[in-house]
Symmetry: none
């Protein structure tokens, strides 16, 4: 997850910065609003942590202009203990969440993952390859924006290949992901399903690497 941190306090800022990195996310830390605006213009973030206590007090404007521009990126605002009114105004201006300073870093983390979870539901992991768009979680698939129905076995083969996209996947690997281990299938089932997939998705979508396996892209 790529996070934009807008915070002028050096001590708190670097603590948060380090913490988010330790959680495995990427951070851009901006100490001034004009820098933040610039960063927003050039990069797509998945989360913004916005300090509303900045000296110039224009953090809310940034938030409002984001929402006015129909940018739905989740924003968590941070305020000092006594700024209840600011907090309310922030939420009404389109913030998704807030943290009251001083806050527990564990709490920050919980909020991060809550927002990340929420966000990941909205922005479906949509894969687009050539004229195909594939949504694995919804099991929906479109070719030239026309829906295509796959059977469950066909899905199994497709996801197995997509999970290792770019790599060459051995036929045995695919077979193992199809049939719970043990149940040996002495046949060319995988070949059959690849054939069926090609009929539905297009000839060149899955390439055969002779005597090694199959590959997508």
């Amino acid at each position: 997850m790529r996070v934009l941190l807008i915070e002028d306090d050096h001590v708190l800022g670097s603590a948060i910065n380090d913490y988010i990195i330790a959680e495995g996310h990427g951070v851009d830390w901006m100490k001034r609003l004009d820098e933040a605006q610039l960063a927003l213009d050039t990069t797509n973030y998945e989360l913004i942590l916005l300090d509303l206590g900045l000296p110039d007090g224009r953090g809310l404007d940034l938030l409002k202009s984001l929402r006015a521009a129909d940018n739905q990126v989740p924003v968590i605002i941070t305020t000092a203990q006594d700024q209840v009114a600011v907090r309310i105004e922030g939420l009404n201006s389109g913030a998704d969440d807030y943290l009251v300073k001083p806050f527990d870093l564990g709490e920050l983390n919980a909020r991060l993952s809550a927002v990340a979870r929420r966000y990941s539901q909205v922005a479906a992991p949509q894969i687009t390859i050539a004229d195909l768009s594939i949504d694995l979680s919804r099991k929906s698939l479109r070719k030239n924006s026309k829906a295509i129905i796959l059977t469950s076995r066909e899905w199994a083969v497709l996801t197995c290949l997509l999970r290792k996209r770019g790599a060459i996947v051995a036929k045995a690997d695919i077979e193992n992901s199809l049939y719970a281990f043990g149940a040996e299938v002495a046949s060319n089932a995988v070949e059959v399903y690849v054939s069926r997939l090609r009929k539905k998705l297009g000839k060149d979508f899955i390439t055969t690497i002779r005597s090694m396996g199959y590959q997508i892209e």
Copy 2:
């Protein structure tokens, strides 16, 4: 918006209750978890306000089972000032937000509208598909502008499918949204309801994806 309020404190509860009503929303106020579970079984809420400080301390279980059943209804938890750990666990268990008691009613309202805003983006109130027009929040349904009455179970199945419109919804998912946690039903109930829905709404409205689930559109 229909809100389920779970709060055992009479004073605070009735204050919140009145406040939400004053804001133009509907509230069901439950003082015990078993009542709340019952309410959840029969009604679809758009927001749940859950007090994690209930005497039996099983509020978290309710929340977890909701999420386990893939119920995405926004949940705001309330905790006392000193229960930071509970709060964090709540967020990690799938709560969308929290309020620390004692909280400002203005703050409650800001959170309500924040959640409502977020929610309204997801579920459009009026849906039109083919010759059907469906209003989920009012539970009204028309086919060629002729009203159709559905039973509550039929609604549950329909809304479950519509909420993930376009996606393939597994039968188990639908079952989970029908029968809140615990109550295992060993039968083909979902099939029966789909069959009845098709009889009322038209043959082709819900499509079967064999061994995967059902799909609308």
